[in-house]
């Protein structure tokens, strides 16, 4: 469902992402972890069509993002790392805006919007301007908006930032339900416990390159650490710069 082929991004002389290749199947929850400045957000932004790669390809549901960005983006629900929204719109107005952009059936919109707003505990705030929302509420609204058009792929950068424990639990459950319905979920996170708990496979990126990927036991095997926690695996792999 998601395929990255030799993806490279340079910011002037800085190489942010270096020939990154990976494949994520339909219905898979893929965790993307790495230290600060490893290239996670850059990769995610390229996958979301927000940044153009310097070289390499991004294939989304069989479509090349460079050649067919509009159709590729229609398959994606994108959630950035920081919840910047149109502060002067209300939550409901923002959802309608998203629905219009992603061509959601206007007849099913009211029901769908209410369901999502209730699911994310925002229904009571639906007619308040976003400026008045807390950080966590904005984050929940962005996730709700990303799910509005029932995307085949969900790309999320740091999904749990600003969320309280009950919201974290709720979001994790939603991701699992989505994966069960064959939606691909691509998560970038620093919260290793969430990656360990939620993801089918985890990719570890460092200095723009994929150091290792696999499920937790495969990563433990690569790091030669037996039954160690993901945190231990992560630190060992980063320290040794062990390439895939």
């Amino acid at each position: 469902m998601i395929e990255l082929l030799d993806l490279t991004k340079k910011y002037g002389p800085t190489l942010a992402v270096n020939k990154l290749s990976l494949h994520v199947a339909a219905g898979e929850i893929y965790g993307f972890i790495g230290p600060n400045g490893a290239g996670k957000t850059t990769t995610i932004r390229m996958m979301g069509g927000i940044l153009a790669p310097t070289s390499g390809k991004i294939i989304i549901g069989g479509l090349d993002m460079a050649k067919n960005p509009v159709d590729a983006k229609k398959m994606i629900g994108f959630v950035p790392d920081r919840p910047f929204l149109y502060e002067k719109l209300t939550g409901m107005e923002f959802l309608r805006f998203t629905a219009d952009l992603y061509d959601v059936n206007p007849l099913s919109f009211p029901l769908k919007a209410e369901q999502l707003l209730r699911q994310f505990a925002l229904w009571d705030w639906a007619d308040e301007i976003i400026e008045a929302y807390s950080h966590g509420m904005k984050q929940r609204l962005i996730i709700a908006a990303a799910l509005m058009h029932e995307p085949r792929i969900l790309i999320i950068d740091e999904p749990m930032v600003g969320l309280d424990p009950s919201a974290v639990r709720m979001v994790k459950d939603i991701f699992r339900q989505l994966a069960a319905r064959q939606t691909t979920v691509f998560i970038s996170t620093h919260t290793l416990s969430i990656a360990e708990d939620l993801c089918d496979r985890i990719g570890l990126i460092h200095k723009g390159m994929l150091l290792a990927q696999g499920d937790v036991s495969e990563l433990q095997h690569i790091a030669k650490l037996g039954e160690a926690k993901l945190e231990e695996v992560f630190l060992t792999l980063i320290k040794e710069d062990t390439f895939l």
Binding site: G48, A52, P69, V70, F84, Y86, K88, R96, L101, D127
Partner: protein, 564 residues
């Protein structure tokens, strides 16, 4: 004092760092452009003021009275401007800046924060007023052959004037913020300020100063002059400043010293008061400012027909963007005063045409009317450019940090920019055509000039709007908190220059053929073959330029946004 100096450091260091070439390759180019333009304005102000004072000197008996009246008016206007800009700046610096959370978390007193912010606000509000007051005072000094003493008094007077205005404003803001949340005060004050400004402009305009050029009404002009009294109570700081300047011009040293000392002591007294008030109220006001933002007007709950249905003819994504744009535009309280101001300027623009004393002109009225109509095309296009600069140029930047939504949406950047284009094009073409038709009706121009004006404006609006959208996309500032900041950027300046160039070229291309058509009409002759060819070539070239100026900036904008 040490804490205040430390608190000022981030701003100082940021300014220094922003000049480092590795952070901004084109910074020096824009600095040179801004300096050149600033110098031109500065020189222009000096030349105009010098010529006016020179002219006043030639008027027997009245010369000095006029010059001194002008001086007191200038000081009063500067003081009013300083008060207004200081109130707005103080509110932002003291209560609304994004870094205030960080600053208030530091181990410094609220008074230290207040004084560091007040100093920044004073500098931000005053530097331009001081800079552009200097050519005026310089021309006074030269005309009155004043010595170094006058310039010393000017220096002290401008410093004290700025400090008094800023400290008074800060006291008003400190007290205001204890009653209302700071965000609300800003909205209220901006609207109030603009209304006051409009009243002032309208009153000045309705006094019909054009009558002053009519020799028949000279007797009434003297009365007019006498009636224009400025506030000169001995209790006002502006009176002391004006008296100090007048005394310095006439080399009355003790009188000048006395008045400047009064101004200085008044400044320090207000700073002392502000210190006490800040200690008691600043932190309370800051805490009160951290409230949940609320809408000033309740949303319409009526579920039937809404204004949005008027946009149903648009494609779905275009409609979504249009509704978003209109909502965010009208809910942003910083846009409201601009709209008031625009409305007032248009009203004054049209009013000017209604009071033009065309019948008193020594040239034939018919000729003058049509000449004015021709020039009016250029003038209306300039007005349109200014409005476009304020509203259209920042429209891409206004997406701000939310621009990721556009980038991630299944809409191409080309579509996004063209949606923006049409959103602004439709109201602007209606406004521009209304402006040109009404002013031409007031001028009672010929049918030919009316048709020509309508067609010319019809052709000029798309390139001006396209340049606004396109260049706004080439030079976006997604970090801008205020749309006005985008206008004053290098890109904004470039947009204005290119607009002026396009309008000038189109008007020049039309001028020759129009003159021949017009004269042929008056003389009841037909155009020669060469004149017809010239006409076709000129108009075709003008049309080509307009089409090029629509397509090229939009493509540049699309390309540039794609790279970003």
């Amino acid at each position: 004092m040490k804490a205040i100096a430390v608190l000022l450091k981030p701003r100082l260091l940021s300014s220094v760092n922003s000049l480092r070439p590795e952070y901004n390759k084109n910074k020096w180019v824009s600095i040179i452009v801004f300096l050149t333009i600033g110098l031109l304005f500065w020189s222009g102000t000096f030349i105009i003021c010098y010529r006016v004072l020179l002219y006043f000197q030639s008027v027997q008996d009245f010369g000095d009275i006029l010059a001194m009246k002008l001086l007191s008016m200038v000081v009063m206007i500067f003081f009013a401007l300083l008060i207004f800009s200081n109130i707005i700046n103080c509110l932002s610096h003291l209560y609304l800046s994004q870094d205030l959370y960080l600053v208030h978390a530091q181990p410094v007193t609220a008074k230290d924060i207040f004084f560091s912010r007040w100093l920044l606000s004073t500098v931000d509000s005053s530097w331009m007023v001081i800079l552009f007051s200097l050519p005026i005072f310089l021309s006074y000094g030269i005309i009155y052959k004043a010595g170094i003493f006058f310039y010393l008094i000017v220096l002290l007077a401008t410093i004290f004037l700025s400090l008094i205005a800023s400290i008074l404003s800060s006291i008003v803001v400190l007290l205001g913020a204890t009653i209302l949340p700071a965000g609300r005060i800003r909205t209220a004050l901006v609207i109030l300020g603009v209304i006051l400004l409009l009243i002032l402009v309208l009153v000045l305009r309705l006094t019909r100063p054009e009558q002053l050029v009519n020799p028949d009404s000279f007797a009434s002009a003297v009365l007019y002059l006498n009636s224009m009294q400025t506030l000169n109570s001995p209790l006002l700081p502006t009176t002391w400043i004006v008296d100090a300047l007048k005394a310095a011009l006439n080399s009355q040293f003790s009188n000048a010293f006395f008045n400047i000392a009064l101004s200085g002591s008044c400044t320090f007294m207000f700073i002392f008061f502000a210190d006490a008030i800040a200690g008691a109220t600043y932190f309370r006001g800051f805490s009160q400012a951290q409230t949940t933002p609320q809408r000033l007007f309740a949303p319409l709950r009526y579920k039937g027909i809404s204004w949005e249905t008027l946009l149903n003819f648009l494609s779905r994504e275009a409609r979504a963007f249009a509704i978003k744009e209109i909502r965010t535009f009208f809910r942003d309280s910083t846009q409201w005063p601009q709209l008031f101001l625009m409305g007032a300027l248009i009203a004054i623009y049209l009013y000017n045409y209604s009071v033009l004393p065309l019948d008193k002109s020594p040239v034939k009225t018919f000729y003058v009317q049509n000449l004015f109509s021709f020039l009016n095309m250029g003038l209306a296009a300039f007005v349109l450019s200014a409005i476009t600069a304020r509203f259209v140029f920042p429209s891409v930047s206004m997406e701000g940090a939310s621009f990721w939504i556009v980038q991630a949406a299944p809409v191409s950047l080309k579509t996004f920019l063209w949606i923006k284009f049409f959103l602004y094009y439709i109201p602007l073409i209606i406004m521009a055509e209304a402006l040109i038709v009404i002013s031409n009706l007031l001028l009672q121009v010929s049918t030919f000039m009316m048709v020509l004006s309508i067609i010319t404006i019809f052709c000029l609006v798309p390139p001006i709007v396209a340049m606004g959208v396109g260049l706004g996309a080439v030079y976006p500032n997604f970090k801008s908190e205020n749309p006005a900041q985008a206008v004053t950027s290098f890109g904004g300046l470039l947009f204005m220059m290119l607009c002026f160039a396009l309008i000038a070229v189109v008007i020049i291309l039309e001028a020759g053929p129009v003159y021949y058509v017009f004269m042929a009409g008056i003389r009841h002759q037909s155009l020669s073959a060469s004149q017809i060819i010239w006409l076709i070539l000129s108009f075709s070239l003008a049309l080509f330029l307009c089409i090029f100026a629509v397509i090229y900036p939009m493509r540049c904008g699309e390309k540039s946004l794609g790279i970003k």
